[in-house]
Amino acid sequence: MTGEQIFFLIVGIVTLISGLMVVTVRNLIHAALWLVATLFGVAMIYAILNAGFLAVVQVVVYIGAIAILFIFAVMLTRRQAAETGASVNSNWWLGAIAAVATFAGLFFLLKSWSGFSKTAAAIPSGFDAVNQLGDALTSANGYVLPFEVASVLLLAALVGAVYLAFNKK
């Protein structure tokens, strides 16, 4: 087992455990903080995959914005202690079965695929993923249209969120 594999296993296990804590922990602030740990693990996975730009964007967007937003939302919606009552609904075992079944189904589906255990080719020297990504996002032959649509979506979400949360007096 190489050092890279050991590193991946540590990161992966920590990510999965903190993911499990997100959905099981009772205190929602703790759940949000565990989410931060999960997101950080995913950022490290990106770094292992040589996608450094995405790793940093993951930290900026997810940890710097989305996780903070979650913590704010939890604080704004717990006037009478939200921790009273069960944190999961009465059909939680059905949910658990569904989740395990999904995992098993995905696993067996992927296992039957021929490319399941292939290894990565080395990245050609002089290949700059950030430049390539920038070109792909802005060239007409690339993905400029989806990129613009995503920006319109963000604008719409911004306006929608302000409208919804605005306290009409």
Binding site: V56, G64, A65, A67, I68, F72, M75, V130
Partner: protein
């Protein structure tokens, strides 16, 4: 390859040789040497941090027409050590019903978010931690961890003032991240790369001459990110006691405090890297790496001094003023500036350098002038709305 030209590599090779000589695996030896390098960098930074306390106290004293610490040692130089001993032997309190784990981890995260920034700072052409090709974005990412540490500290203290302080501080940091990110794109446009070393290497002309407005906006956003005056409304002594770190005592408070000082110094350094050529100074950096380190530390100190200058001479503003200033003025100006710079950069590609500099400078001046004119007319209307129309007619009656 001798020691005075590339000290880091020579030292690393020497240590690796020793470790492998002990029969250690090459990979393990390399990792160990890297760890030792990190440890050394952090130690040097912490020592600088100790003296930053002294510098800060001396400078604020001069601004307030005092002398500052002068009892312990020459010029009071031993004062910071006394401060540290005091902080360490203070009682370490934890409030009732505080969330212990989160409460204890927050100061560490705060310090970490500052120290991690130095991983991408090139101290000399050959001395840098990692030359990430996304260095400029890395600064913002480290800031995100700082934001997280503040909200953790505020929430876990189980104190309403600390939560309010954390809310305010996070609101400031999240909003001022936007103009800072936009303005960091301007050196990126000029250098054609986000790598910090590439940005420094391409500054044959300091970028401040190409885009002075960007340098100013970066400085304002950096001060806001630091939560220093005039943006220290998270602290607001008269209303919030001291913001998110009320409940911390002893060295845990010390970590927040030292982290803030080092953060200010670091942003001074980034300001000099992005707009003032980093370790470059008329070819002096090529003479010796040690000279390059001296140059970048001096420039960082100048940036830090400007941050202090602003802090001790400008009054605190209210939170609504702060948010309005960011969202209605700074962010639009930063975005317009990025667009104008990108456009001018494309138009002037291949132009002689005097034309390039003049064009860039002119476009900056125009953007600044137009935005200030708009602000002036808007604020005049606002003032008339608040104060009512001027009483000119009544004057004429006499």
């Amino acid at each position: 390859m001798n020691f005075w030209n590339d000290p880091l590599k020579v030292a690393a090779d020497w240590l690796t040789g020793i470790f492998t000589g002990w029969g250690m695996n090459t990979v393990v030896a390399n990792v160990l040497v890297a760890f030792l390098g990190i440890l050394m960098l952090i130690t040097i930074l912490m020592v600088i941090d100790i003296f930053l306390v002294w510098i800060e106290r001396k400078v604020v004293a001069r601004f307030q027409d005092r002398i500052g610490p002068n009892r312990l040692g020459p010029f009071g130089l031993i004062q910071p050590f006394a401060d540290i001993i005091k902080l360490m032997i203070k009682e370490d309190t934890t409030p009732d019903h505080a969330d212990k784990f989160v409460y204890n981890i927050a100061p560490m995260l705060s310090m970490m978010s500052v120290l991690i920034l130095w991983a991408v700072v090139p101290l000399a052409p050959v001395m840098l931690g990692v030359d990430l090709n996304i260095g400029a974005l890395f600064i913002i990412a480290a800031g995100s961890i700082g934001t997280l540490s503040i909200i953790m500290a505020g929430w876990s203290s189980n104190n309403k003032f600390s939560v309010i302080g954390a809310f305010r501080q996070v609101a400031v940091m999240v909003s001022f991240e936007v103009p800072m990110l936009a303005v960091l794109l301007i050196p990126t446009i000029f250098a054609g790369s986000m790598g910090i070393n590439a940005i420094i290497q391409s500054q044959n002309i300091w970028f401040v001459w190409l885009s002075p407005l960007a340098a100013v906006i970066f400085m304002i956003a950096a001060i806001a990110e630091l939560g220093r005056a005039p943006f220290d409304l998270a602290e607001g002594e008269s209303e919030l006691v001291s913001g998110y770190n009320i409940e911390y005592s002893g060295m845990k408070f010390g970590m927040f405090y030292a982290g803030e000082l080092l953060h200010a110094f670091t942003f001074g350094g980034f300001w000099s890297i992005m707009f003032f050529g980093g370790y470059r100074f008329f070819g002096l950096e090529l003479v010796s790496p040690f000279l390059a380190i001296a140059i970048i530390l001096f420039k960082a100190m100048v940036g830090y001094w400007i941050i202090m200058w602003v802090k001790y001479t400008v009054m605190r503003i209210r939170i609504d003023q702060m948010l309005a200033f960011n969202w209605k003025f700074l962010t639009p100006v930063a975005f317009v500036l990025v667009m104008v710079t990108a456009l001018m950069n494309t138009l002037l590609r291949g132009a002689p350098s005097w034309l390039f500099i003049t064009g860039m400078l002119l476009s900056n001046v125009i953007v600044a002038w137009v935005s200030l004119e708009i602000v002036r007319s808007v604020s005049r209307k606002e003032r008339e709305r608040v104060e009512g129309p001027k009483q000119v007619v009544a004057e004429a009656h006499h």
